[in-house]
Symmetry: C2
Subunit: 408 residues, 2 copies
Amino acid sequence: MGLVVQKFGGTSVASVDHLRRAAGVVARTLAQGRQVVVVVSAMGDATDRLASLARQISTSPGRREMDMLLSSGEQVSVALMAMALKALGHDARSYLGSQVRILTDSVHSKAHIREVETSRLGAYLASGGVPVVAGFQGVDAEGEITTFGRGGSDTTAVALAAALGADECQILTDVDGVYTTDPRLVPEARRLDRITFDEMIELASQGSRVLQIRAVKFAGQYNVPLRVLHMSGEGQGTLITYEESDVESPVVSGIAFNRDEAEITVTGVPDRPGAAAAILRPVSDARIQVDMIVMNSPRDGCVDLSFSVGRDDFAEAVALAGHAAVALGAGEVRGNDTVAKVSIVGVGMRTHAGIATRLFETLADEGINVGMVSTSEIKISVLVAESEMESAVRALHRVFLLDRPDSP
Amino acid sequence: MGLVVQKFGGTSVASVDHLRRAAGVVARTLAQGRQVVVVVSAMGDATDRLASLARQISTSPGRREMDMLLSSGEQVSVALMAMALKALGHDARSYLGSQVRILTDSVHSKAHIREVETSRLGAYLASGGVPVVAGFQGVDAEGEITTFGRGGSDTTAVALAAALGADECQILTDVDGVYTTDPRLVPEARRLDRITFDEMIELASQGSRVLQIRAVKFAGQYNVPLRVLHMSGEGQGTLITYEESDVESPVVSGIAFNRDEAEITVTGVPDRPGAAAAILRPVSDARIQVDMIVMNSPRDGCVDLSFSVGRDDFAEAVALAGHAAVALGAGEVRGNDTVAKVSIVGVGMRTHAGIATRLFETLADEGINVGMVSTSEIKISVLVAESEMESAVRALHRVFLLDRPDSP
């Protein structure tokens, strides 16, 4: 039955009892005749507690030292997980990123993997052992410990699965799969059996927080089948695949939303090359992430330029755009920081016309006014008033029939 | 002024405040124009807490996994110490045992150091940096993490001092030096300005718990001046040197004691070669540490063989000796598990006669009966009833004038 990488996140190994249960899940997988490589995160809030110690000592602890500090969390959990597996009668052994070794660049706190050596893990697997690998961490060419940023254990799991040619990479977490939208908002939301990497990336970046987006991209790149599964190991979870399913894909697979948006519009921007860039450049130079960008057709030699930013960056972005607008001789700068983004995502959109029309009709029927709109091949995002976001999501969920498993 | 290794134990780095104070001690040493290599243990009871997690998971976690688990404690404290030093404006950098690297054999949980590579630390020191090295841990030739056993951070400090040719290795701890005896027992006990390695080893193995004995032996072997100092960095502490002081050494430097002793005597042992071994072999085969051994002169073709063991091993040792006695046709086996050992230690004994006589007279004057006696060149140990141990220590401390700095 081949090789599976099973990754347990912080909540799945938050206590000794959790660790034992996670070891039980691994044992059941082994009992199916599969080989397993286990990847674990730091226990529960261990990473937060370590970061808090650092903050008490220094306002600028330095990224190298933070990596040294935080990577100790996974060191604890791999050792304990290996002990728990041994207590169940399995031959298990813990490995740090530096021992595997997972070679990265030298960008502390957000390192990228360059190479995963497989000889040591491979030999141990071949001998019947269960390697337990520390997530989130690697080592650079000089032997310095590096980390991959929050959620980086997913990246470790996918990288190992790719390097070892695993049949599947399983992310065991506190939800039992990827949902059509947030069930807390829409009770009819249902778990998706499968979803494509592209859809998952759009859903993740739009606010569904099940998986680290970098890990999903990585999995897509190396074509590693990724499965989000409940930490109990029960159920089928959601399989994230490169290939679209044989059956016709649903038009819309999921609905993502994000409350913390802000919209800025500069009116009367001269319609000449470089004018839009002149407004957006100072914003991005300030490391403010610009999400949606919309420009209307020119009228009287001028255009209106609208863009959205995270709500935290609103005031600074308005000020920067205002300065640029004055320098350009543009009109006024207007802003609204009580907007939210709603996105419908689905690979089926590629082959279905009229989805956007249906979206606008649905929202109009609900009396919801639509602000900025942006579209990609598999996604349509709109800004709405934050107060209307919930009813927008519910209406779209109903109309696109996401609550029916056999939705077209 | 050269290079100093400063080692901070668990109590010296038990909290963020402790860490900051320890960093302040390092900063003051740097301000004296010295180079410093810092060695730190795990914070406070971190090691105990980790060990407790392991025990909850498995009764036999395995030494490799325990090393993986416990070594994470020092990883936390080196990172935080480096941050604290950087917050004081110093260039500091943390190093794990595997990064230095401190190469050991592969005996997990009690590894021995084979080699300390100095190129990396040396280059960093030369650039003006302060390396902060994780105590207690090393790495074997296969890249496996090893540890040196409890108190192993002292060993790390001494090994680094030896490898780097440091002028002094300072052990900063919660006492301000080595005392003539335990001040809790004898209020007149005083701090020794200096003591030889040999004396320190006898005092340490006899119950003074300031330094790990292996570290002291190591320091003696490589002739590294070792100083026990209060964690505040204040005072002179006690310098432990290979060379005896120019001034005449005091006859007795210190008095050690240990309550947890037990005495076993086998009477009527046939006076023939191998008889003593036949009784002691099964005891040592059971990994029971035999401390003192005394055999009287033969009488009627028989001898009495007495030996002492730790009190915890008393019952087992009596049973084993009893079996052996029957097989040998020896007499009876008697035991007493309410004895204590008192030792006087001093290099001056080598050149002073009559010290043992003075000891016996002193105890006789106090009405204290002396059991087994054993002597070495610089130590005389006696067993007394546990109930009389304290008055024995006080009387000897008084007679050998340890409370007077100018004692002969």
